[in-house]
């Protein structure tokens, strides 16, 4: 029996691996298969790394959701890090202030069906993503 909601603390780079493993488990349970599982796991890897690199620690909450009979996965990645001063710029391909390619967040947006980011400087960042089964 797989729980409908999973909480993964993100404190170090090893947690990125557990976050995507747990996401894969839940997404399989929800009914995703094949390449969708990989797309979800990769998107989670990117947002989890964003937490480790920029905020040191945070959390990812994974839940099974439904909309008009369609099953999906909801991913909330939350941190209380420095926040992103210019979200528009951070969401542009190739922009990075850390050790990434600058493809992390815009890439994660392309891999999921829905993507929202709310960030306040000095308070932190929350990314909400959803993907629906086909």
């Amino acid at each position: 029996m797989v729980a409908e909601e999973t909480y993964v603390p993100i404190d170090r780079d090893g947690d990125i691996v557990s976050a995507r493993q747990k996401a894969r488990e839940l997404a399989t349970h929800v009914g995703f298969s094949g390449s969708d599982l990989t797309l979800i796991a990769t998107a989670i890897s990117e947002v989890a790394r964003n937490i480790v690199v920029y905020a040191d620690h945070g959390e990812i909450v994974l839940s099974a959701v439904q909309r008009a009979g369609q099953r999906g996965i909801l991913v909330i990645a939350r941190d209380e890090g420095p926040g992103i001063p210019d979200i528009e710029r951070a969401m542009r391909d190739g922009f990075s202030t850390g050790r990434s390619l600058g493809l992390g967040l815009p890439g994660a947006r392309r891999l999921m069906d829905e993507f929202e980011i709310v960030s306040e400087v000095g308070k932190g960042t929350t990314i909400t993503m959803r993907k629906w089964t086909r």
């Binding site: 990125i16 797309l39 890897s45 390619l101």
Partner: protein
């Protein structure tokens, strides 16, 4: 868990593990650079067939490993990128430009031999 690197003749072979974290990748990068020099290796095979995710950090590190090895005189072939992983990489906007890739270990070894042979004769 650190990635074991096997020496086979003038080649190094590393099979990446599924639970590979960032530290393991960074360590692999340093060890390949060091071992290429110590064993005077001419070629490196990185087998990623077990990996179910290649995100932007992993892709960049693989590219760095290949570029570092080339500066040390060895060619690198990345083998075994899974179809779903390839699809995700393209959507993410990730490329492995300038890095040799092959479908599996066997084809990677052939490509590596051809590439090493080619560079022996001045590219001709």
């Amino acid at each position: 868990m650190p990635v074991p690197i096997l020496k086979q003749g003038d080649k190094l072979i590393a099979s990446l593990q599924s639970d590979l974290d960032d530290k393991d990748l960074m360590q692999l990068k340093d060890e390949i650079a060091e071992k290429v020099g110590r064993f005077k290796s001419r070629g490196v095979i990185l087998d990623v067939s077990i990996l179910d995710v290649l995100d932007s950090f992993a892709t960049r590190t693989l590219r760095t490993i290949a570029e570092t090895a080339r500066l040390r005189g060895a060619e690198t072939v990345i083998v075994g990128i899974q179809p779903d992983v390839a699809v995700a990489m393209v959507q993410l906007g990730l490329t492995l430009d300038g890095v040799l890739t092959a479908l599996d270990f066997e084809e990677g070894m052939e490509l590596l031999l051809a590439t090493i042979e080619g560079s022996h004769h001045g590219g001709g």
